[in-house]
Amino acid sequence: MTVMVSADRIRKSYGRLPVLNGVSLEIKAGEVCCLLGPSGAGKSTFLRCVNHLESVDGGQLIVDGEIIGYRERAGKLFEMRGQDIARQRASIGMVFQHFNLYPHMTAEQNVSLAQVAVHKKGKAEARFRSRELLERVGLGSKAGKYPRQLSGGEQQRVAIARALAISPKLILFDEPTSALDPELVGEVLETIRAVAAEGITMMVVTHEIGFAREVADRVVFMDGGVVVEQGPPSQVLDAPAHPRTRAFLERVL
């Protein structure tokens, strides 16, 4: 199996506050990887480095064979120009904690925008695909609604359709259910589960241990800006080797 994401000793700090202290990780194509850990562990920051929403201070990140955000020349990494980063991002979808849908556009326009503006599809074609994707996340009848007219769960499902619309090789989920009312979490997890079943590589930062156990191929436990432990859920969640993992699981379960 080919490697989709490979992180090599990623370091990152905000001012003098270190957030990532050398994160190394490898994710194979088609794998679903759940990132767990206490808040402040650096999970979200790491995820945002994968599509260069955050720059890194050291180490390198390779997605599908390309260094993300930097170009190697004479043994140094030079940060890329915006348009080159955009080209890399064009095949990475992202789902945000607070949905970040475009509020002045209907669900369908939200899903269509990048297809037309970035992937240069025709309007009719994009429209057709958007309808199809909204149908798939169970919102076929809500295509003409504005985000404000939808529940949190529905908005997040639109956001998932928006991520699928660019035919991504990788989708990043940044705490996709953390901003939802408890009764709406299920429908979003169900949608993510369905996407996972299609074989798209996914990285999911989540606090839903049950979901991770059921869907993840690999669970990564992070704390203090490093990967503490990783492996299949049966190993990390049911028989954690590291005391910090054990302590965390005891608190949340």
């Binding site: 915006g82 992202m94 945000f96």
Partner: protein
Amino acid sequence: MSSERSTDLAPQMKPGNIAALPETRRVVALRHPGRWASAVVVIGFLLWFANVLVTTEAFEWDVVSSYLFNPLVLNGVLQTLEMTAIVLVIGMVAGTIIAIMRLSPNVVLHSVAHFYQWFFRGTPPLVQLIFWFNLASVFPRFELTLFDHTFFSISTNTIMTPFVSALLGLGLPLSAYYSEIVRAGILAVDEGQWEAASAYALTPFQTLRHIVLPQAMRVIIPPTGNEAIGTLKFTSLATIVSFTELLHTVSTIYNTNFQTIPLLIVAALWYLFLTSVLSIGQYFLEQRFAKGSKRAVKQPLISKFWSNVLGQVKTA
């Protein structure tokens, strides 16, 4: 429908305590005698004021009506409108550029934009207008000379006509004000929007065009309406450099026939009419950019009109 419901409910209600209460008790809403009293006082004042308007001879309403559609006055109205339109275009385009410069991470662009705002916002438009008109005493000619060959040479007074100096004197301060309006609008858009747009590989220009500016417009339009109305009124400053806008036209007329007050009323009526038209335009613009908003519920045009014109908020 409602009667059906009440018969459905009736059997359930009867066994309870409600049945024990007397069958009809009148409900009396809180009364507001103060509202009635204040309304009467205000209406009294309005009647008195209307009486003054009609009976005061110095207003000379017949003179007002005879000059209202005078060709000279109409030409003045046209000049005022033309000036307003061009000044607004200058102000908005330059203002948007200055706003984007101020938001730029480039220190030089940022500082220059800040200085521009500081200068043009800090000096009165009237002073600037007179300055531009007198530019010839600083630079008598504009010339381009290279290798002893003069490519062109033009007298400053040929360029700085009353019209052009008014455009600059009004347009530049407007752009300084307007840049702050645009900047406020851009800052009002949630940062998550930039983030989502950038994660989906939109270019900064696409992000501004498709995502940020359409949302910023909701914040930008109401103060833009104010600025448009303000600009229309400020064009009257151009009378100082003898630009033949509305005020200058009527003052030329009253300097010959001494009907000062009636002609000022003519000008005031036209200004009121034009600002009212602008308010209506603002209403339609706001409707257009309210898409997806909770408050996109249509407010009746007439009440919106009054709240704009009178500056008071009418509730339902």
